[in-house]
Subunit: 145 residues, 2 copies
């Protein structure tokens, strides 16, 4: 964990709640919303406050250990960055399932477009919205009724 380095550098403290929230967040490989993470933490730390979860999540972003992402809902989600492998997302609008994928060729073509427009890209977001295999099947059987 080079979180400790960050905290020391900034004169911040490692509290019990931070430790537990961060451990939970970084271990589960999910795209947590603040609410989801809060609910998960309540079970292990009944006293936690909502605000602490928000604060910790933002701390992780500042420390470079997480990023904010949004999947078309009007809520912010957070994604651990410790694996540090860039990827994009497929989001099932039926069940909410999120599938990660990599596609180097697409990445390359994105750079190409940017260059064409004299645009200096810092980050990008690519999301496919649709139905996963399961939800697709469900939809088809519904339509038949």
């Amino acid at each position: 964990m080079d979180l400790k380095d960050y905290l020391k550098k900034k004169g911040l403290k490692l509290t019990k709640q931070r430790e537990k929230i961060i451990t939970h967040f970084l271990n589960k490989d999910k795209h947590f919303s603040a609410e989801e993470l809060y609910n998960a933490m309540k079970k292990r730390m009944p006293g936690v406050g909502y605000a602490t979860v928000y604060r910790t999540l933002n701390l992780l972003v500042r420390a470079g250990l997480a990023t904010k992402i949004s999947f078309g809902e009007n809520i912010t989600r957070f994604e651990p960055l410790h694996r540090n492998e860039h990827h994009d997302h497929m989001v099932c609008i039926g069940c909410g399932k999120i599938v990660e994928f990599k596609h180097p060729k697409i990445e390359r073509l994105q750079k190409e477009v940017a260059r064409r427009y004299n645009f200096y890209t810092q980050s990008h977001a690519l999301e496919l919205y649709g139905y996963c295999k399961k939800c697709r099947k469900k939809n088809i059987s519904k339509e038949k009724k």
Copy 2:
């Protein structure tokens, strides 16, 4: 305008404010936020209410003449759909400028990935965040100071 068809079909009415808001929105080729459009309309229709702008924008989405998009800010933007040509976006995080681009090859590769994962794509979002040429220059000259 096949907006009138939609209104008739749904038993809705074409009011003065709707007419003006919609005309303004569809003519300017911008990615309006509700607030921006409200401010633009206030000048032409001092009495308009904020709620009416929101309602009209949502009406356009329901009618299939606009879509909601979000560019990483925590506000919703609306994009006219009348040209009906799909495109993706480059967003300048310096000046807010939005550049539209098309890249059929990227689109094709997206479909390919989806197929690979048995994912049935309904829509997608691809946004490049970075600096436009102008803002790039500004940044460089700042760094030198």
